[in-house]
Symmetry: C2
Subunit: 249 residues, 2 copies
DNA sequence: GTCAATTATTGACGTTTCGTCAAATCTGTC
DNA sequence: GACAGATTTGACGAAACGTCAATAATTGAC
């Protein structure tokens, strides 16, 4: 029924433009720098038109978060398709996670904002569910590999410890670390110089603590990471190199 | 010179009242629920008077964060005074951290807010430094114990890994986990039922991964935690029991 | 006790931003 | 080219921030 006319396409494209302007505003000037009048002015449309696309400011922010979340799911999917032992496959997700954090460092900023600034309450149910579903998909892909590790007999979880609990640990470690890195400009001042690559090492030590075999003391996972990078993430390589992506470090 | 008159004391006390009203507003209605008119109205003072105490809304929020941060430092100090091996003392901080998170669960909410909502930029240099100094004191107390572990020969850090890096890991894990728990009401839905006590277990596994002796597989740290609780945190015990604080679980 | 100087309080006001909606404009169809 | 329906516009009201001149209270010297 709904014919895709020139006008319809134009409207569709405008939605992208709104998000892109919103993103640059929010990144350069923070939460308060994003305002509807400025978006409208910058795109040379009236405010009413912007409100036709998004019923309020909060929805725009959530939409931005969903946009990067979708890229994250895709990266996680590709990472988890790396063939091998469970812990090697988890390495695949680790690399995906690191690539994600480097390509979209602002995401962690957005995510915190979404959780905090009453955005959640004001946004529509539909978008909220979309966001949560993204998050759950990511966590599920990790949980699946943890369960595989148990099934493979390479990982024994402690009494009363579920795969979800381990996912909680990994997730907390990674998101905590990236959030700190994203919002604390003076980590270096505290003696933390390469936050991104450190996270991978820390996560591996956590896995060692659970005796997930092969242990990182017996097996060089940085080689696995390198392999993951070249088999699963070729398309991203050049973009990453511009950012000086050092997996070996 | 500046005599402490009745009036001065009155003003001092009002500052406390402002913070307490602000806190309940922000907790019950989120970032947007906190507004200066409502604080003024609720305390039956005019807005101008509130502005005499705090030059803007952001300073109030930061002051709230500093207030809990100071309690945190105090808890950390007491925890780290627990006598014993380095890893036992770190357990002391772990317990302190867990007590803190249970007594002031809103702190992690505040902290994220401070990092995100342009609060940082708008607040005064003085308060910003105060906040950072609190944070650094906490991290330093952890770093000190890590270094002690190395000196004690119970911990060997990997090549190129500094004590600060391990602090970064612990800090990220703990703050990530508590932030998630504070802002994600449906962790249980994801299969994570006791976020607080899980964190301690996860952190201990991370330390095991670094081979910090004695390992938690050889030594029951929940007994240590119990002892810490009774020797270092007696005053808090009754308050915690009302919250059903299960260290053994 | 009085009074001038200092200090504290007030609330009306200007400003910014959100989100709305009736009126104006544009688009596609017959 | 006339008409219905979709789209766009921007003036408007509401809410909140932060200011400041005017007012009130307090203090301390005499």
């Amino acid at each position: 029924m709904t014919k895709v006319t020139r006008k319809k396409r134009e409207i569709q494209q405008r939605e992208e433009k709104i998000l892109s302007v919103a993103q640059s505003l929010i990144l350069s000037e923070g939460y308060h720098g994003l305002n509807m009048d400025r978006i409208a002015e910058s795109l040379e449309y009236s405010k009413g038109t912007i409100y036709n696309h998004f019923p309020n400011k909060e929805e725009i922010i959530l939409a931005l978060g969903i946009r990067t979340m979708e890229s994250r799911i895709e990266l996680f999917r590709r990472g988890s398709e790396f063939p091998g032992l469970s812990r090697e496959r988890l390495q695949g997700i680790g690399v995906a996670s690191e690539i994600f954090a480097r390509l979209y460092p602002h995401h962690f900023f957005l995510e915190q904002m979404i959780r905090i600034s009453s955005i959640w309450e004001k946004a529509s149910e539909r978008r909220r569910q979309q966001f949560q579903s993204c998050e759950m998909q990511c966590m599920a892909s990790v949980a699946k590999i943890v369960s595989a590790g148990v099934a493979e007999n390479n990982l024994k979880l402690p009494e009363g410890f579920t795969p979800q609990d381990l996912v909680y640990g990994l997730w907390s470690l990674v998101s905590g670390a990236y959030s700190l890195a994203a919002s604390n400009p003076n980590l270096a001042q505290l003696g933390i110089n390469e936050p991104y690559s450190r996270v991978r090492l820390l996560a591996n030590h956590l896995l060692d603590g659970f005796q997930w075999r092969p242990l990182s003391t017996d097996y060089d996972y940085s080689i696995v990471a390198e392999k993951v990078l070249h088999t699963q993430f070729l398309p991203e390589l050049s973009r990453l190199e511009q950012l000086q992506f050092p997996l070996s470090r």
